[in-house]
């Protein structure tokens, strides 16, 4: 039974290098048959134009609860790409309403207004690192606590509970790491925790997103829990992993770090370029194809499950000059790290502000930063839908 289908996700040579399959498939087979961790088959897109087209097509969503849709993870159900979560994800007009209701909390101006507090938090985390002395793990001491603190502040949940959020997030993002029982238990606990939190905000509202949404009454209790859960997971894991990868990429060739020390005005374009260049962003974005459609010159038939590899698309030579080269000044940089179309990342202004702030503060406070060991030895986080580094040990 199709034993020769390539297994997806592909294996990277090292944590910062892309799997060779990306370039090969982009050139030779832009709509590729693959096998997922569940054993199910799917189609993989690797070209910029194709990924942009499918993600931008409002007909196709992450509705993987449909009959015949491929299962993404090794487990039967649960988690971010599981069937329950898919059934709760609004589509079409309902999605647009939800998006506008929640999107107003993530506008560029709101995020810019939070920037001084993010910088202060980043500064106090660096104080902690400096007090402990080098070497230190930047992931544990900086990259994870910063975004958790920011998203907890926005949502109005106590960041002292962050270890529980991390565990719940990891299980919900499991590709192969956790068992079905562990995922079910985490989902239940997380839901109960958030429900108690929502009830508390109903009784005593604060100046935060959950209080506002609870008081507004536009969302049902289930939608409120789903929204809070989604924002907590997305708001902390993705950015936390990206801070670690960003620093690793910039230090792996230290001339990049030195260039930014000399020209701090490049921080904005440098952040966009590390987002584009990320060779370990995770699984990609699934879409269930509900009507026949043509991508490039290939017909996708209704009932197929398509995985868009935004990271492969971000190295497509038809969209980017010298795509294998990291260019800290690249402008414009139409990378797809946040997706594209109506479902593209709702927190991207937040993520950009956090990444720029984290980088600016690190350059300012720890100009002598360097990796403690070879970049090729950086350990990947394994078995999750999103990619990251387990540790980034640094000295300064």
């Amino acid at each position: 039974m199709d034993a020769d289908l390539p297994e997806y996700p592909f294996t990277q040579p090292t944590a910062l290098e892309p799997p060779p399959e990306w370039e090969d498939l982009r050139d030779r087979c832009p709509v590729a048959d693959i096998r997922l961790a569940s054993g199910d088959r799917a189609l993989l897109l690797t070209r910029h134009a194709d990924v942009r087209q499918v993600l931008g097509d409002p007909r196709f969503t992450r509705q993987l609860d449909a009959d015949g849709a491929a299962r993404v993870t090794a487990q039967e159900s649960g988690g971010v790409f599981g069937s329950e979560q898919s059934a709760m994800t609004p589509t079409g007009e309902a999605h647009q309403q939800w998006r506008r209701l929640v999107g107003r909390y993530f506008t560029a101006r709101r995020m810019t207004a939070m920037q001084p507090r993010m910088a202060a938090m980043a500064g106090s985390l660096i104080d902690g690192l400096v007090a402990g002395g080098p070497p230190a793990d930047l992931v544990k001491g900086f990259a994870f606590p910063l975004p958790v603190w920011v998203i907890c502040d926005l949502l109005g949940v106590p960041d002292s509970d962050r270890d529980r959020f991390s565990h719940w997030s990891d299980t919900m993002l499991s590709l192969t790491r956790y068992t079905q029982d562990e995922i079910d238990a985490a989902q239940l606990e997380f839901g109960e925790y958030l429900w108690a939190h929502i009830e508390a905000k109903r009784a005593g509202p604060g100046d935060d997103l959950i209080s506002d949404l609870t008081a507004g009454g536009e969302l049902s209790p289930i939608e409120l829990i789903g929204t809070a859960q989604g924002l907590l997971i997305a708001g902390h894991e993705t950015t936390a992993n990206m801070i670690g990868k960003m620093v690793a990429m910039l230090l792996a060739d230290r001339s990049r770090w030195e260039r930014l020390l000399a020209e701090p005005a490049l921080v904005r374009t440098a952040v966009e370029e590390v987002l584009r260049f990320d060779a370990n962003p995770g699984f990609g974005m699934p879409r269930y194809i509900t009507e026949d459609t043509v991508v490039g010159d290939v017909k996708l038939t209704a009932g197929s499950t398509v995985i868009s590899s935004m990271a492969a698309a971000n190295r497509d030579a038809t969209a980017f000059e010298r795509p294998a080269e990291m260019d800290l000044t690249r402008t414009p940089n139409p990378h797809l790290a946040f997706g594209a179309g109506p479902h593209s990342c709702i927190g991207q202004a937040l993520a950009r502000t956090e990444l720029q702030t984290a980088l600016t503060v690190l350059l300012d406070r720890l100009p002598g930063l360097r990796l403690a060991g070879p970049a090729a030895d950086l350990p990947r986080r394994e078995g999750l839908i999103i990619g990251g580094l387990e540790r980034v040990v640094v000295t300064w």
Binding site: R99, R104, Y105, F106, A108, R109, G341, A349
Partner: protein, 64 residues
Amino acid sequence: MKVGVDREKCCGAGQCVLLAPAVFDQGEDDGIVLLLRPEPGEPDRAAVAEAAAVCPTGAISISR
């Protein structure tokens, strides 16, 4: 340079506001793009062109 925005297409990513805050804003009640200056001056043009090129929904159009 004349700028147009499509509020139906817009997903509120906010890139345009981060790049050209004198030209673009987002509605406080929905996060959707607002056009402050349909005919931006010279100092903003490069940022506006960049915003149009990177908009995730292609909601910004530019004509001469």
